[in-house]
């Protein structure tokens, strides 16, 4: 097998670890970090496919990074706003909209 195949397996593994992290942790900031890991796993997939299907795939890596930056800024602002109100960041304690 070649390096592309192993890189694709690696990206699938990193994405799965990110999924597990989002599902298993309670801390909202660590859940955000797991989402960043999943985005970077997708970046690895794009880079691998850019080798065979055209260099345009690497442009999309930039768009993914821009979306990740925007998401991090807004998400962390929401976490700060919630922390001011509840003094904690554990997602299972936020049940105001739960019925």
């Amino acid at each position: 097998m070649d390096i592309e195949t192993y890189s694709l397996i690696l990206s699938a593994l990193l994405f799965a670890i990110g999924t597990a992290g989002v599902l298993l942790r309670r801390n909202a900031i660590i859940m955000f970090m797991c989402i960043e890991l999943m985005l970077n796993a997708v970046n690895l997939t794009l880079v691998v496919f850019s080798r065979s299907l055209g260099i345009e795939a690497q442009v999309f890596v930039f768009f993914v990074m821009a979306v990740a930056a925007a998401e991090a800024a807004v998400g962390l602002a929401i976490i700060i706003a919630i922390f001011r109100h509840y003094e904690l960041v554990d997602v299972d304690r936020f049940n105001l909209l739960k019925w």
Binding site: I3, E4, T5, Y6, S7, L8, I9, L10, S11, A12, L13, L14, F15, A16, T19, A20, G21, L23, L24, R25, R26, N27, I29, I30, F32, M33, C34, E36, L37, N43, L44, V47, V48, F49, S50, R51, L53, G54, I55, Q58, V59, V61, F62, M65, A66, V67, A68, A69, A70, E71, A72, A73, V74, L76, A77, I78, I80, F83, R84, D90
Partner: protein, 175 residues
């Protein structure tokens, strides 16, 4: 040969860092493991001939976005959690099963994509020739500023909205 060695090294660092991030109790340690994982991923980008992406990954992702996370963790003064931060046994089993299912589905999908792309792909020789003639930056700059100019400009709008939104959300309300 040396490529294989570095690939295995970076892959182990990336997966180990990611797993340690999920399992670490202290959020700061968790974040530093993620930074290690991203550095290793940049190494893999270099092995895949995406040098500029590797540099941007270190500067923007590991350097800027993750440091923003670190600022927020320190602003909120989050230490090691007193109650266990991992969820309970039932939830844990379901979560690991879901992650395993995602892994399997991704492997199936990526294998299909890999066989099709290898069949109609451009090959290592074309890639090397493009990198030789235009350089690592030029090879990305050309499609970005020709075919994808409008999406690129819209990205700046997205970032502007994110800046305004973050300020509005995190602003201290007047009493």
């Amino acid at each position: 040969m040396i490529v294989d060695f570095f690939f295995v090294l970076f892959a182990v660092m990336a997966v180990g860092g990611a797993a340690a991030m999920v399992l670490a109790r202290n959020p700061v340690a968790s974040l530093l493991y993620l930074v290690m994982s991203f550095f290793a991923l940049s190494g893999i980008f270099i092995l895949l001939d995406a040098h500029f992406i590797a540099a941007v990954n270190v500067i923007v992702y590991a350097g800027a976005i993750l440091v923003l996370f670190l600022f927020v963790i320190m602003l909120l003064n989050l230490g090691p959690s007193k109650r266990p931060d991992l969820r309970g046994t039932m939830y844990r089993m379901l979560g690991i099963a879901a992650a395993g299912a995602v892994f399997g589905l991704l492997l199936i999908t990526l294998r299909d994509g890999h066989t099709t792309s290898m069949a109609g792909g451009m090959g290592q020789a074309t890639m090397d020739a493009m990198l030789q003639s235009r350089g690592a930056v030029g090879v990305i700059a050309e499609p970005m500023f020709r075919s994808y100019l409008v999406p690129f400009e819209i990205t700046s709008l997205l970032l502007l909205v994110a800046i305004v939104g973050a300020i509005v959300l995190a602003r201290r309300r007047a009493p």
